[in-house]
Symmetry: C2
Subunit: 299 residues, 2 copies
């Protein structure tokens, strides 16, 4: 995997896009607001398309916004056109919705065969198909690093602590586990301690997986002592980077410490982070490392 | 993978071993007692080597028995010799022990470099190294199917319910996930629903993984309806079949139903089952299937 070719070009506002409105399809959590602020800081007007049931009203209502249900693709296109948005970022947590919460409009129903085909896979395949449909409708889906590079984890340690040689071996092992699961559209994260794979993430989410390892440790079922082991998060190989990049925040760092691990490694250049300085401070307090690593680093 | 060549030959007692005592290194659960009864039924005298902290006193004390700690390899050899045991079965749950619970005798300490090398991997590598050391000491480690074929799951449905075509596709997908994780010495089990991988087992154990999926369903985070999805258990490819075969029991079937899945598939010929008729009855009551499948079945 090569580093993003556009990382430098996009740090400066794009002459073509500066001043233009930017649609933001908002899932849960604080990232949609962070992207909106970053976009506004670059002179773009954010227009929030808040997903009912996921987006945080307090955050989206600080900007121009519209509420939409998952499945209202026609409504999205009408509103995006009215707001003169030609680009959209999809951001925030959006766990696979129960079918009962989906509202299909006519545009979505016409696209149902495509949606149905993509529903048979993992989340990435589904979201990727949705992104393609949005692009076919004339709105370009762009990655968060194009509009908010400041919320992307860079290479190197974020706080004071550094991974040891043993931690680096565990990081390499976890990256291999994640790579092995890429064909199954799961596995953005794994926990390895002393070369032993303790946990693999599928549908449960990272915090849930960390809580499980904390439980196993309380039950005396983790052979390695506290301070050994790593959580690694990385996008699946072949993942559509317009959407669904792995994310970390202060809670992640605190939960890594709670699980008795040495630290947390994420794919540099393709992991989003909420308030990096808060995360670094929490990691320093807890005595753990947080590090951005190259996924293609020699193993 | 071919079917076990010895499945038929071992249904009848081996002329050489009939009447000879059989050492059984006993972890937790009811399987050690089931193996002891099966061996006794074939005219062999079971001698239980009950692992302190794991073996169930009520069950092992019904036979000739000795208590040993994990790590007392010299003690095992002395007692096995005194009891004229030339073969041993290792059976029962033996979660990776905390270092504090291990008692090393001189024999084990002499073998420490080998043990230490194998501790860096998963459970299978560790147990496999222990089995090799026991064989080097002159006691043959034999698979449970050689002495108790009646507790091995055969091919086909155990109860009344059969997997549908969709269930079979989910079973194939889960077998692929398990195969992909073989190099990491984890992943005897995975849960797939509607082609979506919901959970992968690492250190937490199958019941824990099923409870997680039941939780995800309660939280509305499983998109497929109740009655869709399968738990699949299979030995890792390359797994040492003398030890640590996957196991199921009535509780597994009940937990599969509790997680809202359609059923449970295991590798025929290499999965042990406690009281198969009880499991079949529990599955029938819960409306789920339990099926033994060929791992090398066409996908």
């Amino acid at each position: 995997m090569t580093r993003r070719k556009d990382a430098v070009a996009c740090a400066a506002p794009d002459a073509d896009s500066a001043g233009r409105p930017l649609a933001i399809i908002c899932g849960g959590g604080s990232f949609p607001a962070a992207v909106a602020e970053a976009a506004a800081g670059r002179g773009r007007r954010p227009v929030m398309f808040a997903l009912k049931g996921w987006a945080d009203p307090k955050l989206v209502e600080q900007h121009a916004h519209h509420w939409i249900a998952v499945g209202q693709l026609g409504r999205f296109f009408r509103l995006a056109k009215a707001e003169h948005c030609r680009e959209v970022v999809i951001i925030g947590t959006l766990l696979r919705p129960p079918l009962s919460q989906i509202r299909l409009d006519w545009r979505a129903i016409r696209l149902m065969p495509r949606i149905a085909r993509s529903f048979g896979g993992g989340d990435n395949r589904l979201l990727s198909a949705v992104a393609d449909m949005i692009e076919d409708g004339g709105v370009r889906v762009i990655g968060v690093e194009e509009v908010a590079p400041e919320i992307i984890v860079p290479e190197g340690a974020l706080g004071r602590h550094q991974p040891s040689a043993r931690d680096r071996a565990d990081i390499a092992r976890a990256l291999e586990v994640i790579a092995a699961l890429a064909p199954f559209d799961i596995g953005q994260a794994a926990i390895v301690a002393g070369n032993h794979v303790l946990a693999v993430e599928a549908a449960e989410g990272t915090d849930n997986m960390l809580a499980r390892v904390a439980d196993l440790r309380r039950q005396g079922r983790v052979a390695t002592p506290r301070g050994v082991g790593v959580l690694v998060k990385a996008p699946k190989r072949g993942q559509d980077r317009r959407i669904d990049l792995p994310a970390i925040g202060r809670q992640t760092a605190e939960n890594v410490a709670g699980a008795g691990l040495a630290g947390l490694a994420v794919a540099a250049g393709s992991t989003i982070i909420a308030q990096a300085t808060d995360v670094a401070a929490a990691a320093d307090r807890a005595g753990i490392f947080v590090v951005g690593v190259r996924e293609d680093a020699p193993r």
